[in-house]
């Protein structure tokens, strides 16, 4: 492991790798205590304490998000947009669906995110024979106590990577989607709260393969955003190829923020100010997809909620205390495109580009409000 072949590291991370590496967070005294803290799984009705005195300033959130994105960027070269979007969605408390061809770093992205915040990460490889209990966990008879005890499944983690989710049966997909929606697991009458933050990163291949069950519209609707990785450019791919042989790059990643700090960042994003005109703009944008003649199905009201939530996170990540229409427009594609159904769908990977183009056209039909909000 030759340091000179690594991407440039944020200052401080090279000298003290295990310590939180973000000066901004360190200065605000957030990053210290809870490193490696994790919720104890299996405790029914467990809730993460949210007793934060002061909400974070947008600038602090921006600094933290930048540190996380920079950390992830050390292992995934040349994908800063996808990384930033992933971090934003994480801070917006929204699940993401990464859809792209195999081998472009979907799983790597999810893992690097987990590693950067010191969160627990579980990976579920979806296969046709995967059962719901394999996801949620199930009661196991304990010989010693002679009682059934709940053995938590892989869903009990801060970040759950659902790889190739479209290869599992719809029944199993539904089990995961229920967890995503409810934030808890109910097995045999007992309810178990999931970790907080709980963030699902699902990946799927756009190319129709044998033995896949494509996610239904209703299921796709649960994901806040769909992120496309795209192929790296030539230089980035070369760097990746050269460095991969030197060892697993993920091992070099050290957390740059504690879970507690991340939770406070999520909280700050939730409290970002939205002017009335801007929330109306988000609604108008969502509604415009329902009027589009080229869409058989427009975006749902939940999509509008997700759009505004994501926009609040984006505004905060950019260090702004309020949402502007630019945030909404930037996120319209990722948040809305996977929910709509074109009248004449294009099969395969062209479908994503088609939906994105349709959403762009919808954006172009909605005038931006400029009237003073005060």
């Amino acid at each position: 492991m030759d340091p000179k072949h690594l991407p440039p590291a944020p200052p401080g991370s090279a000298t003290a790798p295990p310590a939180p590496a973000n000066p901004g967070l360190a200065a605000s005294g957030l990053a210290t205590p809870a490193l490696g803290h994790r919720a104890v799984p299996g405790h029914p009705a467990h809730a993460q304490a949210q007793s934060h005195a002061e909400p974070l300033e947008p600038a602090d959130v921006a600094a933290g998000a930048k540190a996380i994105a920079g950390n992830i960027g050390r292992v995934i070269a040349g994908k800063s947009q996808a990384i930033e979007l992933t971090v934003t969605m994480f801070l917006a408390h929204g699940h993401v669906l990464i859809e792209d061809v195999p081998g472009v770093g979907k799983t790597m992205l999810a893992k690097a995110l987990a590693a950067s915040i010191g969160a627990t990460v579980k990976r579920i490889q979806f296969t046709p024979d995967l059962l719901p209990s394999d996801v949620t966990g199930s009661p196991i008879f304990n010989q010693a106590t002679r009682q059934f005890e709940f053995e938590p499944g892989p869903v009990f983690a801060n970040i759950v990577i659902a790889d190739e989710i479209n290869r599992a049966s719809p029944r199993t997909q539904s089990a995961l989607l229920e967890c995503m929606e409810e934030g808890q697991v109910t097995v045999e009458g007992s309810t178990y709260a999931l970790d907080s933050p709980f963030h699902v990163v699902a990946t799927q291949n756009p190319i129709d393969m044998e033995g896949t069950h494509a996610l239904l519209e209703a299921q796709r609707d649960r994901f806040m955003a769909r992120i496309s990785m795209g192929y790296p450019d030539e230089e980035a791919e070369h760097t990746m190829v050269r460095d991969r042989d030197l060892g697993e790059p993920l091992r070099a990643l050290r957390p740059v923020a504690s879970l507690g700090a991340v939770n406070r960042m999520i909280d700050a994003c939730r409290h970002t100010y939205v002017a009335d005109s801007v929330s109306r703009y988000a609604v108008a944008l969502t509604r415009s997809t329902r009027r589009s003649p080229v869409l058989a199905l427009g975006a749902s009201p939940r999509a509008a909620v997700h759009l505004l939530t994501a926009a609040k996170a984006l505004a905060t990540v950019k260090g702004r205390g309020y949402v502007i229409p630019d945030d909404i427009q930037a996120l319209a594609g990722p948040v809305l495109a996977h929910r709509v159904m074109p009248v004449t769908p294009v099969r395969g990977s062209g479908g994503m580009a088609q939906a994105a183009a349709i959403i762009r056209d919808c954006v172009a039909t909605v005038p931006v409000p400029v009237a003073a909000g005060r």
């Binding site: 100010y273 005109s277 205390g321 427009q329 056209d361 172009a364 005038p367 009237a371 909000g373």
Partner: protein, 756 residues
């Protein structure tokens, strides 16, 4: 490019025709409406066909405009043009003549102008220009509201030229049509059925309003309205007369049938002058029952003099007065009822107040002929003192009368000293003086310049300014005649009016209320009291072919004072009396100032056109100042509007940040760095104002307007001068907002072309 919406075209055409109603007040007859409509429809049709066959808007405008000159030539000069439409010098001459005729008609006549080919040509040009302008603003510029400017301009001209009393209903069709046009061109477009209903409703209401407005068509006159003006009375009758002239409607006051042609209809005389005010001097009143014997003739007047008898039937249709209008000099009266009182001094015939309305009667009058040998003989010498005796009132002058009156009179009438010509020639010289020295007829100038009245000072001022109305001319000539020792008084009555019918020997005339008039009567020995006409552009100077002044000169013939000189006048005195008496070319305006008038006219028309053309730019400037004073959001919309003006359109879905980025890029590449920074600061302030929590600090908000000004100047300077000119002259942001779907469509096209 875009097909014409039928409802919009219909509304535009209706607006075009609604202007007929106010313009009808300007012209006699209705033939001009045909020319107006025909040329308008040519232009509208060219626009419709051109646009629906896919020609570009600019090309449609050029084609429509190019159609008009050949059509004009074919209509008015086909007989001299090559192949009916190809212009040559004769065609040019024809149109020069037509415009000269028109200008002379405007100068000489009160509205309505008599019908004639020049009116037709003018109506055709007016129709073509208005139709082109409407077509251009409605379909090319897509600013139908601008048509209101032009319609309003026409209305203002109509009011200015007709008189202030133009009834409001004359403008109702125009207003309705304008509202209908605005309604059907709104955004989003109205449903076809609703739009058709609006247009049809406007057309119907406009038609009703138009037909009930006086002055349009033949059946539209409201006869005998409630406005029956008492022509003169009160403390200063002549000031009242001025007021009446300014406010009287063109409704009919009376009509009469005459067997000797048109006649001045006299109500009374104002002979008593106290230095400031002229009043009627009541003489001995003699009761007279209609149908009785003739009046006793006054000494030295009436049937004893040379002249002829006229029989006139008068019917009063819209006049309320204490005097009966009669031609001078009445010798007998029959018809009607009641007792009349005849003033033995000036033969004013009085009835009880309010009893004139609806009265009809026959007058027999003696029309003296000062031209006859007998009359001329006795008129040669001035009156002796004992002859003047009975007329002392009529020669009295105040001591403090301004010098200029007497001096002017002597200069004009006594070229060879006090004894040169006889009183008749002196009187004619005075009359000629007013017609040949650049006097103009104006109802408004005396009021504006503060000399409206009838005192000596007023006359002095009038002689200096040389503008006034009949009262000024009459009083001035009366005073000047008295200065020369000729007994004189002011007669008040009506101009002869317009001929409305002809049966053999007799002709019928209609006199409108606004033909109220004042003229001087001078006592000429051998003829009695003789009326003269010093007022320019009203009536015409004495000719003494008949013993009364002629009717208003047919406009094709300018008043030619030289022709009015008595044939027996000595040639030497005539030449010496007035150098300008030399014959003039008949088709030249006779006033030395006419060249100036012509250029003033041209300048006024050009100024009006320029004002119309500049109107969008001026309105735009006002809108800009207002927006810049209304806060950040308005300032930002002004930036967006200016960008639209300059062709740097920003689609509606562009956020302020994205728009600023595009414009800053434009500014930086044009070297307007200062403006670019100002725009960035403005955008930041706008963003905070629009989207940030109300508690957020916004330091940049204060200097928002100044930043906006800097940015706007930079934006303009970043464009070549041609685009700046177009942006000022025809600001595209003044068009109605397009529907969002259209905006999005064009925005997408633009984006796919690489954006801006």
């Amino acid at each position: 490019m875009t097909r014409v919406r039928p409802t919009v075209l219909a509304a535009t055409v209706i607006l075009f025709f609604s202007l007929v109603v106010p313009v009808a007040q300007l012209f006699q007859g209705s033939a001009w409406v045909g020319w107006y409509g025909a040329f308008g429809l040519i232009v509208f049709a060219a626009g419709l066909i051109g646009r629906n066959s896919g020609l570009s808007n600019a090309l449609v405008g050029v084609v429509a405009a190019a159609l008009v000159p050949p059509a004009l030539i074919a209509a008015f000069a086909a007989d001299v043009a090559w192949l009916w439409i190809i212009p040559n010098s004769e065609v040019w001459g024809r149109f020069v003549d037509l415009s000269a005729d028109l200008l002379r008609a405007i100068e000489l006549e009160a509205s309505p102008l008599t019908a004639g080919p020049w009116i037709s040509a003018f109506a055709a040009v007016l129709g073509a220009v208005l139709a082109w302008v409407f077509d251009w603003y409605v379909f090319t510029v897509k600013a139908p509201a601008a048509t209101g400017l032009f319609a309003g301009l026409v209305a203002v001209v109509a009011v200015a030229f007709v008189r202030p009393g133009l009834p409001l209903t004359a403008f109702a069709p125009m207003a309705l049509a304008y509202l209908a046009l605005l309604a059907v061109t709104g955004d989003p477009p109205r449903p076809r059925l609703a739009a058709s209903a609006v247009v049809a409703g406007a057309a119907a209401l406009g038609l009703v309003a138009g037909l009930t407005t006086p002055g349009l068509g033949t059946g539209g006159f409201i006869e005998g309205t409630n406005r029956k003006p008492a022509p003169v009375g009160g403390r200063s009758p002549l000031v009242d007369l001025g007021k009446n002239l300014r406010t009287n409607p063109s409704t009919e006051a009376l009509r009469y049938t005459s067997d000797v042609g048109p006649l001045y209809m006299r109500l009374t005389t104002l002979g008593e002058f106290d230095g400031t005010t002229w009043t009627h001097r009541p003489g001995r009143q003699v009761a007279y029952r209609t149908g009785q014997d003739e009046f006793a003739p006054l000494p030295g007047t009436g049937t004893g003099t040379a002249g002829k008898r006229a029989t006139v039937s008068v019917e009063i249709t819209g006049l309320d007065s204490e005097w009966l209008p009669v031609p001078y000099q009445p010798v007998g009266l029959s018809g009607g009822s009641g007792t009349l009182r005849v003033d033995q001094d000036d033969l004013t015939i009085a009835v009880g107040s309010g009893q004139t309305q609806g009265r009809s009667y026959q007058v027999s009058a003696w029309l003296a002929d000062p031209d006859s040998a007998q009359a001329r003989q006795s008129a040669v010498a001035t009156l002796s003192d004992e002859e003047v005796g009975p007329f002392q009132t009529y020669t009295w002058l105040p001591d403090d009368l301004p010098e200029i009156i007497g001096e002017t009179a002597r200069e004009v009438a006594w070229p060879d000293g006090p004894d040169s010509p006889g009183p008749l020639d002196q009187a004619l010289a005075l009359e000629r003086f007013f017609h040949e020295s650049g006097f103009t007829y104006s109802l408004s100038t005396p009021v504006r310049e503060g000399y409206d009245g009838d005192s000596g000072e007023v006359v002095a001022k009038f002689l200096e300014v040389k503008a006034g109305y009949c009262a000024h001319f009459a009083v001035a000539m009366t005073l000047m005649a008295r200065e020369l020792g000729i007994p004189a008084r002011v007669a008040v009555g009506y101009l002869p009016g317009n001929s409305v019918g002809n049966t053999g020997q007799t002709a019928e005339y209609s006199v409108a209320a606004d033909r109220l008039h004042a003229w001087p009567e001078l006592y000429i020995r051998g003829s009695g009291w003789v009326g003269f006409e010093p007022t320019v552009s009203r009536g015409s100077p004495s000719t003494f072919g008949s013993a009364t002044p002629e009717p208003p000169a047919p406009s094709s013939r300018a008043p030619s004072p030289s022709a009015s000189r008595p044939p027996s006048a000595s040639p030497s005195t005539s030449a010496a009396a007035s150098p300008s008496a030399a014959p003039r070319p008949p088709d030249r305006p006779n006033d030395p100032n006419d060249g100036l008038v012509w250029w003033v006219w041209c300048l006024a028309v050009f100024a009006a056109l320029a004002a119309c053309a500049a109107a969008p730019g001026l309105v735009r400037t006002v809108v800009r100042q207002r927006r810049l004073s209304l806060g950040l959001a308005a300032a930002w919309s002004e930036v967006a509007a200016t960008a639209v003006d300059l062709g740097l359109d920003q689609p509606l879905w562009r956020t302020p940040a994205a728009m600023a980025a595009a414009l800053v890029n434009q500014l930086d590449s044009a070297g307007q760095a200062e403006a670019a920074r100002a725009l960035e600061r403005l955008e930041a302030a706008v963003e905070v104002a629009a989207y940030a929590p109300p508690t957020a600090p916004n330091d940049a908000a204060q200097d928002g307007p100044s930043q906006a000004r800097t940015a706007l100047r930079g934006l303009r300077l970043s464009q070549p001068w041609r685009i700046r000119l177009v942006a000022w002259w025809a600001p595209r942001s003044m068009r109605p907002m397009r529907s969002s779907a259209v905006a999005a469509g064009s925005a997408r096209r633009r984006t796919s072309n690489g954006g801006r």
